[in-house]
Symmetry: C2
Subunit: 395 residues, 2 copies
């Protein structure tokens, strides 16, 4: 491909209601464009300190080792595994969607031994199965699970899972990519040992950063490792010195300066709103969307008690070409919603109401656009009822 | 630390003439703030294709596997090593500064065996020593070296080193973090097998991305590995599917959407200027800075033939507190220059003229500010001559 035709890229203006990225607030976009400064500049170091404190709040933790990894959520996941798993370690991994499978890959690539607990895609993690596995594998060192499965819209009971893990003397690694900022996540209260998230879901920052946090217990295990962490870039023993307190920081890598401005701004916005208010907002708009979806005659894939308010898996009605619906939404309304993955491919849509995307406007817009497109395609739905149903919840 | 006092972060406006990041052009900053779209959006996928083509041009290569890694240069380095080094592989590593040492760390963490060839910090890599090592270690699989040592301002002869490697049947891993876009780098002509760079040096994008390129020979080795790459996030077998051509892309991780807008824009600017013109610009402003520096009575640390035009190591005059000079430049002139690292700490300043920072304005400004600060601190320099000397080169 030649390059002579290449011009500045001017992206279309979308409404992002898929599984992430979510819409980014203009304040965060403006922060991304502020003048770049050096990663060792005193002003930048002060910003880093604030970022850590803001992450403490978002994660509800006082863990000293709470930082944004300079890469997307997948790298945050890898940070947890490469630092905590040593060759030969048994790790109990719960899988009820795509991301549990990725955890297994991580354990194997660290030379660990994954013990897989499988649940149906679209269901929460079964606590009894986990307890049985922890009993059977008394030498397991770690329990790893996904709090909010982005691939299915399912929430599992992180508090109870952590309680179980402690009872069987395991550390926990928790995927909170889609939960942070959208649904209660209490790292200290639940005694989570290692948690990672992403910038582009309920924090509504641009994609590319992964906030992580590690308990003292986890830090002790990392500091006492028999052999070096296999990744230099993700080695927390080095990153601790880089993100450590005080003026003396050991240079590790060049931080992604402008994306960190963006994350800082998005965390300021969460602080100003208040975490509890943000959680309540996600729940309220989920209920409004749900009312509209059900009034249309569509149904949720996940049973009520397991649903993630910020990621709604809707079952595709029989005979409807789900990809055609998404294509029309994108082309006619510039609205992005998500497809199903894995065993749910072709069978569900995933509608995100995350962060700045979780607004009354988007609920109404999405219901209207979806109804219009489904009608155009001749799908068997109830017409004209969705917006009223949603309005009642919102008012 | 509380968070109640945290406000939007408004960075100071600096002139960045350290070892990176360099100044970012307003066009690139504006691109960073464009509306975020989904990483699977058709418009985004078209942008990714253009990005690859623009990187082909910047690297002067037709390597199909030419992509930006979604993380800083250190992760680009790690991408090369984790994919190409298998346990037990002997890797000849040249060290003449900080980054050769980091390569050694990478080899070890991949289970490889580094054979270190050491040169003085501030000198280029000695070809004879390398050839001797390649002869002695006939079973070495890879030669790894730094083309442009950011820590010392030294350029080594990448073309000759690659020629040597081929003669002894080794693949090459080349650090081009500071050379890409600033000084000739001809990946195909020199037959480099694996090369990584950074977005924040002579490309003048914001920090956080690492362009990489791999030859067919390298790809074959990666595809024929005995065991999986130890990093899931950096596994090129997976990344190839993600960045592959055509509409069918396998989801791997969520791309850092807005930073990629920025990189796209910075590469458009390089294309519009022309690579050869960019190289000539870096050389011209280096010569102007040099004339001014020498007219002041200061001297370069690196001998003339080994100097990197985009990163100038200047010897600190005896009796001058180098940190005090940098502090004053930052506080009085909002000008950032770099300190020495490792064995050069306290003995040199590193003045970058990279990318958008490489302008006549910055040459003049830096000489003027440096002269003023040195005079204020009572350093024994020639006064009033630097700007005339630089002007003669620039005119």
């Amino acid at each position: 491909m030649g390059i002579n035709h290449c011009r500045s890229f001017v992206p279309p203006v979308r409404t992002l209601m898929g599984p992430g990225p979510s819409d980014v607030h203009p304040r965060v976009l403006a922060a991304m464009a502020r003048p770049t400064i050096g990663h060792l500049d005193p002003a930048f170091i002060q910003m880093m300190d604030e970022l850590k404190s803001l992450l403490h709040y978002a994660f509800q933790t006082e863990n000293e080792l709470t930082i944004p990894v300079s890469a997307p959520g997948s790298a945050g996941m890898e940070t947890c595994f490469v630092n905590l798993v040593e060759p030969g370690d048994k790790v109990v991994v719960c899988q009820n969607g795509v991301f549990g499978g990725r955890m297994k890959e991580n354990v194997e690539r660290c030379g660990g031994q994954p013990i897989m607990i499988e649940d149906e895609w679209g269901a929460a993690i079964d606590l009894d199965k986990v307890e049985k596995a922890l009993k059977t594998h008394a030498d397991a060192k770690i329990l790893a699970f996904v709090h909010a499965e982005t691939s299915t819209g399912v929430q599992s009971d992180a508090e109870q899972l952590c309680e179980l893990a402690r009872r069987y003397d395991c550390l926990t690694i928790v995927d909170a990519v889609t939960s942070l900022g959208g649904t209660p996540l209490n790292v200290d209260e639940w005694a989570i040992d290692a948690v990672y998230s992403g910038s582009q879901k309920c924090l509504s920052c641009t994609p590319g950063l992964s906030p992580v946090s590690f308990s003292e217990r986890a830090v002790k295990k990392i500091q006492g490792r028999q052999r070096k962490v296999q990744s230099w870039f993700l080695d927390l023993n080095l990153l601790m010195n880089y993100w450590g307190s005080g003026a003396k920081r050991a240079y590790h890598h060049t931080a992604p300066v402008n994306p960190l401005y963006g994350l800082h701004e998005s965390l300021i916005m969460i602080k100003d709103e208040g975490l509890e208010n943000a959680w309540a907002r996600h729940e309220r708009h989920h209920q409004a969307l749900r009312a509209g979806i059900e009034a249309m005659g569509l149904s949720f894939t996940v049973k009520e008690s397991d649903r993630l308010p910020q990621l709604n898996a809707i079952s595709v009605p029989q005979g409807v070409d789900e990809a055609a619906v998404r294509k029309r939404l994108l082309e006619q309304y510039s609205l992005e919603i998500g497809a199903g993955l894995g065993s749910l491919a072709g069978r569900v849509w995933r509608i995100g109401l995350m962060g700045y995307s979780s607004t009354p406007k988007n609920v109404m817009f999405c219901l209207g656009a979806l109804e219009a497109v489904l009608c155009d395609l001749g799908a068997p739905i109830e017409q004209g009822k969705a917006s009223t149903a949603a309005r009642i919840v919102l008012s």
